[in-house]
């Protein structure tokens, strides 16, 4: 297993934290937010459902998810934590590998270095995105988590054969944290080993006739999928998957499902049927992916533990910077996170 990225993450984490020693830091007053960007676009939705029949032919189902968290502020930057998890179901048992948490002290001075170093560690070869500017401080938690997520996705693609790999989100690329070549590379590696990538989006901005595609559900007994067409994103955004609406269980839950474009329609349908036959599905969402999300999400308890770790190991004095909203507006100030 390629351990370059975790190794780099540790080195950078420790290096960045050493520079924050004995500084006071402000606890993050915002609630946990895990971001996911979408581009609203118009498209066609084929209302004729594609019925699905669970296929019980045994295969591995694996999923990836990552999580990021801002755990506090220092006088010069922010303290962030990222964590990722791979979960797979094999022989009816779920297993996982969880990486992290990795804690970083990101400042205006070191953010470029941190991000570029990780990109280099991950990409190995120079990439077009390497030349882009590094993200701003607010974007750093998400971007760092995305880097870890891509690395975990690559690892799964390289290690699993003839399985289903579930991603959290879409197969949209061309964004700063998902370069086209990178996503293509991941999908290609997966295909070479007989794997099929299915990407589930918990939220979508895609609309059909003004309605969210996940709200336009025909009266048909689930499980089924709806096919979309004529989805043309504006450059530099590229869709590397075919977009479907998947309603996999009873109830009114449906998700946007992207399936690798290079996979034939029939194989794509079979892949979802195999997912139905091999994984638990609740509220139309695969359990493997749910577990990956649950395992990497930071609980409040863990946030306190990380703050305790930083305070005890790096002698940080915890201070509370006044919340200006509360200070100015009293009970009408709902806190900076809700401004």
């Amino acid at each position: 297993m390629d351990t370059t990225l975790p190794q780099r993450l540790i080195e950078l984490s420790i290096h960045s934290l050493k520079h924050v020693q004995n500084q006071p830091f402000q606890l993050n007053q915002q609630t946990i937010q895990q971001s996911n960007g979408f581009n609203p676009q118009a498209l066609q939705l084929k209302i004729q459902p594609i019925p699905l029949r669970p296929k019980h032919e045994e295969i591995i189902v694996a999923a990836v998810d990552t999580s990021s968290m801002k755990i506090g502020e220092t006088t010069t930057g922010t303290l962030i934590a990222i964590r990722g998890a791979n979960v797979w179901k094999q022989n009816k048992n779920y297993r996982y590998i969880r990486l992290g948490p990795f804690i970083f002290h990101i400042t205006e001075e070191n953010k470029k270095e941190v991000y570029k170093t990780l990109q280099r560690a991950y990409f190995n070869t120079p990439h077009e995105q390497n030349h882009l500017n590094s993200p701003n401080l607010q974007q750093m938690p998400t971007r760092m988590a995305n880097l870890l997520e891509r690395w975990l996705q690559t690892m799964l693609s390289k290690t699993i054969n003839n399985g289903l790999i579930l991603f959290d989100g879409s197969l949209t690329s061309g964004t700063p944290d998902t370069p086209i070549s990178l996503m293509k590379e991941i999908l290609e590696i997966a295909r070479k080993r007989g794997n099929i990538v299915l990407a589930f989006s918990k939220m979508t901005n895609l609309r059909f006739n003004g309605h969210l595609i996940t709200d336009v559900l025909p009266r048909h007994k689930p499980p089924y999928m709806l096919e979309t067409a004529d989805l043309k994103p504006k450059p530099p955004i590229v869709l590397l998957g075919d977009v479907y609406v998947a309603r996999l269980t009873k109830g009114n839950y449906a998700f946007r499902l992207d399936i690798d474009k290079e996979i034939s329609f029939e194989r794509s349908i079979q892949a979802v049927e195999k997912l139905l036959g091999n994984d638990l599905l609740s509220q139309s969402y695969p359990e493997t992916l749910r577990l990956a999300h649950i395992l990497c999400t930071f609980t409040a308890n863990e946030v306190i533990a990380m703050q305790h770790f930083i305070a005890s190991k790096y002698s940080l004095k915890i201070i509370n910077r006044p919340d200006m909203h509360r200070l100015l507006f009293g009970p009408f100030g709902k806190g900076e996170g809700n401004s």
């Binding site: 993450l9 048992n93 779920y94 992290g100 577990l291 999400t297 609980t299 409040a300 533990a305 770790f309």
Partner: protein, 484 residues
């Protein structure tokens, strides 16, 4: 440890896994700037309400209740910190006193600094020293929670009403024996109403040899070596027996009084003459029948005798014990309910008589399961009137609801062993010398032979003690059928 909250006289303290604190421990919350400290006792240990703990626990059990197997790559070793936070506990503590310049006051009206206060365990010896739980007549009860010895002063039992209670087989009798033997050691006179014959061999060691108390333990077996001649009896004592133990109606009691006075004037007070007098007395037939039935109850008890020589042992023992200290064990094991009541009525009347005349100095009375032989009206009598005569009672029971609430309210010391039953704890918690929360919370978790000591003996600082072992033959074991 960190001070978290204070409400009324309860403080909540956040404690971390490396700080081992248990129920019953004492903590010193010291505010150096204020120059004062609070002494608080832990009455409950709870999990701290850590944000996100439910999610943390739930995510480890998503697979149909089984743990999801996996590996964690945690290079910064955050996991121990998570465990550290998760295992934090919240100590619910009762404020017992404030220390200022080494002086104790029961006040809890001030608030120590939450951020600056230091909190540490208060060793029992230090607390005992601060509370001045010392004296010239030490009784070592056993080991306190921090393995130090808990020593009380015998004088704190003097003139006091004590209760030893707890469920079966927790060590109540053992503690009463320990207190009793120590009192004897200080030349006190102890009387035990021994319902199960547990105290008979206190003069012997476990291996059957005579111990230091051998000559001071006097066992009285009613109807055997303990008999009474009618001449020794006061009329009012006998009337108490007839009315309260044998339920003689008032009219018949009046006739009996006349018969008694008639016999006394003729110096013919003996059982035979009493029987003849009842037979020949001019009275209503129903009264005669009533008197006869009681007369035969007295005769059949075997407790009364016409031979004066047989009836001297009690006074001999009493005077010996009064001079040198000693225990009079009244063995009520093989005695019927009526006979028990007769014996107890007689003894209490006798003690009052001797104490009133200053023939006895004071009596420490140990009464096991007193509801089985003590009449209703005697309870108040014992804790109020008789105390002034010099009868200092220790009630021992495993049924706390057999002791009236007013007895608990007046109890000076309570030695509380384990109770799990809510109702039992509710009864005991009515004691005036302690708050209900302490009793309910600590007593429920006491292991066998551990006792929560409350009251004047510990200067109202409730303390848990493991009662020390005694090298005496206890004979308190239950007879078993399936015994190897």
């Amino acid at each position: 440890m960190k001070l978290y909250k204070k409400e009324s006289n309860i403080v909540q303290i956040l404690s971390f896994p490396n700080e081992t604190v248990e129920k019953g421990d004492y903590l010193l919350i010291e505010d150096a700037d204020a120059g004062k400290a609070l002494i608080a006792q832990v009455i409950d240990v709870q999990f701290a309400n850590i944000p996100g703990i439910l999610e943390e626990l739930l995510r480890n059990l998503p697979d149909g209740g089984e743990l999801v197997q996996g590996e964690d790559f945690d290079p910064l070793e955050i996991a121990p910190h998570i465990t550290y936070i998760q295992d934090a506990s919240l100590l619910i503590c009762k404020i017992r006193a404030t220390v200022e310049n080494e002086n104790l006051s029961p006040s809890s009206s001030w608030l120590p600094s939450r951020s600056q206060s230091t909190i540490k365990k208060l060793p029992i010896p230090t607390l005992l020293k601060l509370a001045k739980v010392d004296g010239k007549l030490p009784i070592v009860l056993g080991g306190a929670k921090d393995s130090s010895l808990l020593t009380i002063d015998a004088s704190s039992l003097d003139g006091r009403l004590n209760i030893i209670t707890g469920k079966k087989e927790t060590g109540k009798s053992h503690l009463s024996k320990l207190l009793m033997l120590n009192l004897i050691g200080y030349k006190a006179m102890v009387v035990v109403f021994d319902l199960n014959g547990e105290y008979l061999s206190l003069g012997m060691t476990v291996d059957g040899k005579r111990n230091a108390y051998y000559d001071k333990i006097h066992v009285l077996a009613p109807s055997q070596n303990f008999k009474v001649a009618l001449k020794q009896l006061n009329l009012h004592v006998l009337l108490e027996i007839l009315i309260h133990a044998l339920h003689l109606p008032g009219t018949s009691a009046r006739e009996f009084r006349r018969i008694w006075q008639s016999l006394k004037e003729r110096d013919m007070l003996n059982l035979h003459e009493l029987g003849e007098a009842i037979r020949n007395w001019h009275c209503n037939q129903h009264v005669r029948d009533a008197l006869f039935s009681r007369y035969y109850a007295l005769v059949n008890s075997g407790f009364f005798t016409d031979k004066f020589g047989e009836a001297t042992f009690l006074e001999e023992c009493l005077f010996k014990a009064n001079e040198q200290g000693g225990a009079i064990i009244v063995n009520l094991r093989n005695t019927s309910l009526i006979d028990r009541q007769i014996v107890v009525e007689y003894l209490l009347g006798k003690f009052v008589e001797l104490l009133t005349n200053w023939k006895l100095k004071a009596v420490f009375l140990f009464a096991e399961e007193a509801h089985l032989y003590l009449r209703e009206t005697y309870w108040d009598d014992i804790v109020t009137r008789m105390r002034h005569f010099g009868i200092f009672t220790t009630f021992i029971t495993n049924q706390p609801d057999t002791i009236r609430e007013n007895i608990y309210r007046q109890a000076d010391n309570i030695f509380l062993f384990n109770f799990t039953n809510e109702h039992d704890l509710e009864v005991v918690s009515r004691a005036a010398r302690v708050d209900a929360e302490t009793v309910k919370s600590i007593a429920r978790d006491l292991p066998p032979h551990h006792c929560l000591t409350l009251g004047k003996v510990v200067r109202d600082f409730p303390m848990v003690v493991k009662v020390k072992a005694l090298d005496v033959k206890t004979m308190g074991e239950t007879r078993l059928f399936f015994k190897e």
